[in-house]
Symmetry: C2
Subunit: 551 residues, 2 copies
């Protein structure tokens, strides 16, 4: 027996119409370069998205076709992000920090015929275009073509010339809500990039989640600054949730050639735009706190900061809360989970101690995300201390990868996250470590993340990274890379001793190396594949400590 | 091209599991009678819902079967509200203020074989049961059977005896999310009751909406008191949203035989439970303010009050905000819209004047609700002053009535609400009047609601109701019923003159009647059908004012 409710599909075009009709004067701010911002009203975004859809249609884009976009945070990108799925096509945001080979393979495997690109990224398209047989058109997000455009082996258009005279209204098709809307590839920290395709339904439900008061609680009164680029799961889905709720959004852009923002640049953006919410990664937050210590600046306009990408070290968390009075809310997610799967607002029913633990972990799952911990075939209890691999399912969790890549990452309809974690009885997640990074030492497990956060608590340390290295006696033992503050003079032995009271003796790193550079991926996660490679190549000078000795 | 996201259905059983797993210690408080409350934890609700499903299954209830519930706010009712749809059956909450004939016809037309009932409502079942051929079992929500149970012509069971020894876990079926979950009948202010059936999908999306920060913003830190009974669209969907977000809920129960709560009773509930949110109707709020004026009491624990059912008069709104510092947020909805379709949080982008108008209207529509104004076949602009019939569509708006009743209430896939309204450019709704209540006078339209609110602003008036009555010259002219404060001495002429500056002369009521009772429906709306009937029967003593005269 079916109910009498309308089966109106959840479509991205509806979010766009809602924004134009009801939140027309809310704005999106993008950047033409790192300094020059452009602010566009939602009603203009909607009108230009309509014209963009007509333009793409004239270039032959139809329902189900994939359109690539290689851009930073231009407002034209936001318009395309709505236009492409609304017209029934699929948007493929590309990361310009990936190799031309990787980008070409994403375009080729999705038979992309139209690529939209920032004028300053056109040179990289010169490398890519010849390798993509399906490519027919390149659309430059500008009013004129930059020099060199004529060298491309395909037709090159200036977006504004294409839009000229086109209608701002497009007859958005009535799609199935399970139609693909966007494609993203994992950042590849743990192997070859794997693709997923979000649906109109998953984008809608994820957006509603972001607007829920227990999650990012977006409202029409908020101004949110994000450092998360659109090519990272569409700025974590923020633009869709913002147009749903009328939230003003500023999508920052790092300096040319940089994957990450400098602390000084973020501090300036905060001072200029005075957002009340800020979404960023742990790595960027770390840069910001260093900057704020060297150049004090009030950030009292910030009500809260949502942080994802990797766990926020306790020292960083406390520094923000205590010195700047800003609430830090951790978020957990993956490309495979749209991405936000958990959000760390503490539960007022819990004790102060538990609430602190809840905010230092990765967050509580909402009703839409089912979670379980597995130790092989064995379900682990959600008791807050039993560790298992986190597995997820739900309407914004992927069921598979594109082309059925890596089927071993799915089991009985659950996504294997590869994260070793605990879940508390109230549903709060604490990621202990990546499955591949946890250190099995003499039958016990040591969390590389816990060691990193403990070493970072030392006042002389800027950054730290831990990997396991083979050990004849224990199987594996921890090696820590330490990045000291400028001018700091401290021995490995002293740092080791300073862990007293924070880390049990048997867990402390045996091997120490002082470095000035800890490799990170484009999403700001520590690149442990790279560290292992450098270690294998003998590139670290290592001091080994045995507890009884006096190194 | 379909996306790779899981097509996990949105099912009520998932909300229940989420509540048990993650919000186990949040609570629901129901009432055994008007005074004695019972508080149950969400994990207990979930466990007892599992056992209830087993018990119903043993009585022959299967997928698609409709189960009736005739109860007030007992916690057992909440358990059934989750158990019945989770097991694939359909819950039919019944209103004990309806006639036995109406209740019997709802049961009969849905082939109900099992009816769950409060022990104190069993006598009314004696009247109903013999008229319902399909009825086989009556389950009394108690541990023993009350006297008289043996007189019923069907099997009568005590719920607790049925649950005894049953498993708390039930294998909730993997249903289609468009399956019916619950049935409700309109309150029939404008004709015969019409039924709709909510789906698992519509309940889910409506619940997510209620948790959104722009809507009721429910969180696990909230305690919400509601006076809206479960048989009124399941307390406006509050229990589902509460179990989604971990919100504590108290569902009040009026004194026996009363459809509405007394001001004193509400004041006591507020003092006892100190909720931070309160959901109620305009009529109940009116009773509360009178009580608070006579018996002052701090309500500073209230962060906000969500009010629906009918428009909140400006005088009442200001009294709460100014005298008690409590924010009033109006909500708009219908049985046909699950019910919340709009929520009146002001838009911070607007001027103070506009924000005031936004909060005095019925609210802004969320992305999930499409709205349009129609004047016959002509679409009216959303300019804030063009009036048209409000028509709605969206995933929690009904597409039809059960048995395809009243197909004229639907046009081109839109629900005709029967409300004459304006919509502002920012999507804020202002309901001018019911289509049937607006007074067409000499080619102009007079809003009966506007007149009522203006007359109520008079310090000597408690309540007022306006209907249109035939007039030889103008077609129709307003008749106002006025309920004066105890001891007030004022003439119709004075009240008429006091409208100066608030209502144009030509709009003011010509006909005045002083009464001590204004009939209201069970949802607290003015019962204009009843007023018209009483007027037709000559039961009002009317003073007629002509502007120039000196009555």
């Amino acid at each position: 027996m079916f109910g009498t409710m309308l089966d109106t599909p959840l479509l991205i075009s509806r979010i766009l119409e809602n924004a134009a009709e009801r939140h027309g004067s809310s704005t999106i701010t993008g950047f033409v370069d790192q300094v020059e911002s452009r602010t566009t009203r939602f009603d203009v975004v909607a009108a230009r998205a309509g014209a963009t859809a007509h333009a793409l249609s004239q270039l032959g884009v139809g329902i189900g076709d994939v359109v690539g976009v290689l851009s930073e945070s231009r407002t034209e990108y936001l318009e395309a992000l709505f236009a492409i799925p609304s017209m029934g096509a699929v948007v493929l945001p590309l990361n310009f920090h990936r190799s031309p080979d990787a980008t070409a393979s994403f375009l080729e495997s999705n038979t992309v015929s139209v690529l939209m690109v920032d004028p300053e990224n056109l040179p990289s398209v010169e490398e890519i275009a010849p390798r993509v047989e399906s490519l027919r058109h390149v659309v430059v997000l500008d009013s004129v073509l930059p020099p060199g455009a004529e060298r491309l082996p395909v037709e090159v258009h200036a977006l504004e010339s294409l839009l000229d005279g086109l209608s701002a209204t497009y007859p958005w098709p009535a799609l199935d809500e399970n139609s693909a809307a966007a494609i993203a590839y994992t950042s590849g920290t743990t192997g070859a990039p794997k693709g997923v395709s979000y649906t109109h339904r998953s984008v809608w439900l994820h957006s509603m989640q972001l607007c829920m008061a227990e999650s990012a609680a977006l409202t029409s009164g908020d101004t949110v600054l994000t450092t998360v680029p659109i090519h990272h799961v569409m700025s974590w889905g923020l633009p869709f949730a913002a147009l749903m709720s009328g939230t003003d959004v500023i999508i920052a852009r790092p300096r040319p050639g940089q994957a990450m923002h400098l602390g000084a640049d973020i501090a300036e953006l905060l001072a200029t735009h005075r957002p009340n919410k800020f979404m960023t990664t742990t790595a960027t937050l770390q840069r910001l706190i260093v900057r704020l210590e060297e150049h004090p600046q009030s950030v009292s306009h910030l009500a809260e900061v949502a942080v994802g990408g990797s766990a926020v070290p306790e020292a960083l968390f406390d520094a923000f809360v205590e010195r700047h009075g800003v609430t830090i809310i951790q978020a957990y997610g993956l490309t495979e989970t749209s991405p936000i799967a958990a959000f760390a607002r503490p539960d007022p029913h819990s004790s102060a101690t538990h609430r602190r633990a809840q905010t230092l972990g990765q967050g509580r799952f909402p009703a839409g995300v089912q979670a379980r911990l597995m130790d092989g075939d064995r379900l682990q209890p959600n008791d807050g201390w039993s560790v298992g691999e986190l597995q997820l399912r739900g309407p914004w969790v992927t069921a598979q990868y594109l082309d059925d890549h890596s089927p071993e990452r799915f089991v009985d309809g659950w996504l294997r996250t590869g994260d070793m974690a605990t879940i508390s009885p109230r549903g709060y997640l604490d990621v202990v470590d990546r499955e591949d990074d946890i250190i099995a030492s003499g039958g016990e497990l040591i969390s590389s993340v816990e060691l990193e956060h403990s070493v970072i608590r030392d006042a002389q340390v800027v950054d730290a990274a831990v990997i396991g290295v083979p050990d004849d006696r224990w199987g594996h033992r921890p090696l820590v890379l330490v990045h000291l503050k400028p001018g700091a003079q401290v021995t490995a032995r002293t740092l080791w001793e300073n862990l007293e009271g924070r880390v049990e003796t048997w867990k402390r790193p045996d091997h120490w190396a002082f470095v000035t550079d800890i490799p990170r991926t484009s999403v700001g996660k520590i690149d442990k594949l790279e560290i292992r490679a450098r270690h294998a190549a003998g590139r670290y000078e290592i001091t080994t400590i045995s507890p009884g000795s006096q190194h």
